[in-house]
């Protein structure tokens, strides 16, 4: 049986010669595809060294970069899967473990510790994202463009960094809750400002994806956020999905809605392609 993999070996000379010819023929007609996904060290807020999950397409690039901000439960399987998904689509993607200072331990145990301590500080998250962006831009195959995407609390963080860091090229807020804070008592030393109050400072294009059945953010909050973005003349696009609630991309949860998630992912890829891909990177992808 001829094999169409990339491994060359012979069992006997006649058969081996045949397989080798078929392999070479097959390989010449294939487009090479590869990805490297691994844990790396990065320098975050105040120079703290932490861990991040990093997935990138193999080959010379140039590749655009994406920082993926994990949700409140932590740096789990699905977050790493989403990181690899973006790499598959041509984006060198880094997901910093925002709770690395609270380790060691499994991501869920560390996440539980952080929850009990009232969550991470916004300032620290902004510093960690800035560090992750610096890591991406320092890679020899980077095209220099960097986007940010976040899910759930990471969506809120995305909105926050889009208003706080000057060099983000595109941001995707996936159902970030608490962008609007109705009760000032919810503000504290760790989260001193409601992200919505920073909207004037947003400098990059924003894509927002939301489920209409979500309770945080609910429809009214999404509408109010959009109204402010519109009023301030920001570059944004919002998409709302019927039949979907919170975390509808997350295949590890019952909230997963495949149709809506597929459409949403395609919007993410198109948005990043539009804002992060340079002509050279588009050719490489």
């Amino acid at each position: 049986m001829p094999r169409f993999g990339g491994v060359f070996c012979t069992v006997n000379s006649t058969r081996g010669m045949y397989n080798r010819a078929v392999d070479i023929q097959a390989r010449n007609s294939m487009t090479y595809e590869g990805m490297l996904a691994e844990t790396i060290a990065f320098r975050g807020h105040k120079g703290d060294v932490g861990e991040a999950y990093y997935a990138r397409p193999l080959g010379g690039g140039p590749w655009p970069g994406v920082v993926l901000i994990h949700h409140m439960p932590g740096w789990d399987w699905w977050i790493k899967e989403a990181t690899r998904t973006l790499a598959y689509h041509g984006f060198a993607t880094i997901s910093p473990h925002l709770y690395f200072r609270d380790g060691p331990g499994s991501p869920d145990d560390v996440g539980a510790r952080v929850r009990a301590a009232g969550g991470g500080a916004d300032e620290q998250v902004i510093g960690d994202v800035a560090g992750a962006m610096e890591f991406l831009r320092a890679q020899p195959y980077a095209n220099g463009k960097v986007g940010v995407i976040g899910f759930c609390s990471g969506g809120r963080h995305t909105y926050l960094v889009a208003c706080s860091l000057p060099d983000i090229d595109a941001a995707v807020d996936c159902w970030g809750g608490n962008v609007i804070v109705n009760d000032p008592k919810q503000l504290n030393a760790k989260r001193p400002v409601a992200p919505i109050d920073l909207t004037e400072k947003m400098r990059c294009p924003l894509l927002g994806l939301f489920g209409n059945d979500d309770e945080n953010p609910n429809r009214d909050q999404v509408n109010r956020t959009e109204a402010l973005l519109k009023k301030l003349g920001k570059n944004y696009e919002f998409h709302r999905y019927d039949g979907a609630g919170h975390a509808f991309f997350n295949a590890a949860r019952v909230a997963y809605r495949p149709e809506q998630a597929l459409d949403g992912w395609n919007k993410v890829f198109a948005f990043f392609q539009m804002h992060l891909t340079t002509p050279a990177a588009a050719r490489a992808a």
Partner: protein, 97 residues
Amino acid sequence: MCSYIVEKARLFGSAKGPNGWMRIDTANVYYDHPFHAPLDHALGIDFINEAEGARERVAVELSAQSARDLVEKILAALASGESAHGKFTAAAPIAAE
């Protein structure tokens, strides 16, 4: 929703975790996205020993209905236990060892 709202219950007792039995002094109780249970939201309880740094936990994730049922069963077990053994009225817990 992703929230940081946690109810803390101070308690006295023990729990069995991956490294065996441990003393616990706190239960962190929250209702949010679970890590493992196939639910949109779950009632989570983390039993920890905060005095010793809370490096280990014994965790459960329950559906809202399961949690309510459990509350009832805990109260029922206490009632029947106290009926059989008498009500425990000591002001402070007695260490078992």
